[in-house]
Structures are given as structure tokens and as C-alpha cells.
């Protein structure tokens, strides 16, 4: 996989672009169609959060290189929106502040191998997730 790709997220159309690019990069990295679909689904959820809460922002796709020669893909969803006041609450299944199904962040956490969130009220949110090739 080449260098990193950054996709600006400002509308619902960008959500589709981001997940399609993510799928393509995942397949290039060597993930199966099934794994690439998991990755594309996670990107869709992360990008939608940006459109719903913190428009605009960006999704960055980049190669991941871990210990023991592990290879994978890292996705960084970043915005400078209002931030998340209560991260523990946002990570709980069934919690939604937008009338959604409340599966966004906890769902993404289940789809990916590594999950990290950084957010400050008023200071934007960055979610970094990684999926390793099995």
C-alpha cells in the first residue's frame, strides 16, 4: 500500500467516497473481500459521525506496520468539532445523541482490532483504528 490518503469529509457523499477508497486500499493491502467490507463499514460509521456532529473533518488511510512484521491498515477520523464530553457514554452500546441506533462507536470498536479515541469538549475528536492482516 502506497503512502497515506486523506479524504475531506464534508457531506454524505464524502462518506461513500471514503468507504470506497478504504475498501480499495484494504484489498490492495491483502485483506479478503469480507475483511475489506468490515473496514469499509467502520469507515462509513466514522465518516458519518463527522458529517453529523463535526462537519467538516477528514478520514486518513495509511499503512500500519506493527511488531513482528504485522501489516495492516490504520484509519484516522479527525475533526475540529465540538468534541465528545462523555467518551465512556459514547462508547456504550445503544447510546445515541442523534436518534440513531447507537451502534456507531461501539460497533466500530468491534469491527477493528485496535481502537483509540481522543476528544476534548470544544477541542475536536480524533478516532484512530487499526485492522491487522491475520
Amino acid at each position: 500500500m502506497a503512502a497515506e490518503t486523506q479524504i475531506r469529509i464534508a457531506s454524505d457523499k464524502d462518506v461513500v467516497t471514503a468507504r470506497q477508497q478504504g475498501r480499495a486500499v484494504a484489498l490492495q493491502t491483502g485483506f479478503t473481500v469480507s475483511e475489506a467490507t468490515l473496514i469499509a463499514t467502520a469507515i462509513s460509521e466514522l465518516a458519518r459521525n463527522i458529517v453529523s456532529y463535526a462537519n467538516p473533518g477528514s478520514v486518513t488511510l495509511k499503512p500500519a506496520n506493527g511488531a513482528n512484521g504485522a501489516v495492516g491498515i490504520t484509519i484516522i477520523a479527525s475533526d475540529s468539532g465540538p468534541g465528545i464530553a462523555d467518551i465512556a457514554q459514547a462508547l456504550r452500546d445503544g447510546y445515541s445523541s442523534s436518534g440513531g441506533l447507537g451502534l456507531g462507536l461501539p460497533g466500530v470498536r468491534r469491527l477493528m482490532d485496535e481502537f483509540d479515541i481522543n476528544s476534548r469538549a470544544g477541542g475536536g475528536t480524533t478516532v484512530t483504528v487499526t485492522k491487522w492482516l491475520p
Binding site: 462518506v15 463499514t41 462509513s44 460509521e45 468491534r110
Partner: protein
């Protein structure tokens, strides 16, 4: 990207042909509900074979479509969820529990026919 809706007797068939944005999904919801009213349809099939991803928004919209159409006295069946899409949906926690699903268009039509027979 507009989703074509085909009228076949008392059934409407909406075939999603490419990845849909949130706005496209909401447009599909409106168009289907309007046409169910206009044609007094008994059943709706939404064919999602070409959908690349079924995330929480798409699932919620399909649920809403099915609930709205049920309130009109008609039935909805979702057909063509790809195996890898189903795999990702379950991991995400999406099960579309109270929406009937079928393998493909043919099975979906058979489901609706059986349902309308049992009502008569």
C-alpha cells in the same frame, strides 16, 4: 443516484444499483412510501445486492421503510444481502430483526405471494 422502482402487479420492486449516500436512502424511503400509497401496493421488495456496505444509517432507513409500509397494510422484504455485508452487519450489531429478508428477488416474490395467500 436514484433507485429505480418497478411496479409488477401489486408488488413494487426497488433495485439498488450502486452505493447510496444518506440522502439517496432517504429519497428512496420517500419514493417507496409515496408509490405504495399511489398504487395501493400489497408488497415491496428492496433488492440490496449491489450495496457495498450496510451501516447503521442504511439499516435504520430500511427499518423505517419497512415500518412505514407496514402501517399502510403492506409487507416489505429485503433481498440480496451479500454474505460479507451480512458478516459486517452482525459484528456491528445490526440484525434487521423485524424486517423479513430473502435470498434473492425470486425468493422475495415467493415470500410476498405466500403472505398474501395466507391473508385471503
Amino acid at each position: 443516484m436514484q433507485v429505480p422502482i418497478l411496479k409488477q402487479g401489486s408488488v413494487l420492486i426497488a433495485t439498488i444499483q450502486a452505493a447510496l449516500s444518506d440522502a439517496d436512502l432517504l429519497e428512496l424511503r420517500t419514493a417507496l412510501v409515496q408509490q405504495v400509497v399511489r398504487f395501493r401496493s400489497a408488497g415491496v421488495i428492496v433488492d440490496v445486492t449491489a450495496m457495498d456496505v450496510m451501516d447503521s444509517f442504511a439499516s435504520r432507513t430500511l427499518l423505517e421503510i419497512s415500518h412505514m409500509i407496514r402501517l399502510r397494510g403492506a409487507a416489505t422484504v429485503i433481498v440480496g444481502i451479500q454474505p460479507e455485508v451480512a458478516f459486517a452487519m452482525v459484528q456491528l450489531g445490526l440484525t434487521l430483526e423485524d424486517v423479513p429478508t430473502a435470498l434473492d428477488l425470486e425468493e422475495g416474490l415467493a415470500y410476498l405471494q405466500q403472505k398474501s395467500r395466507s391473508m385471503n
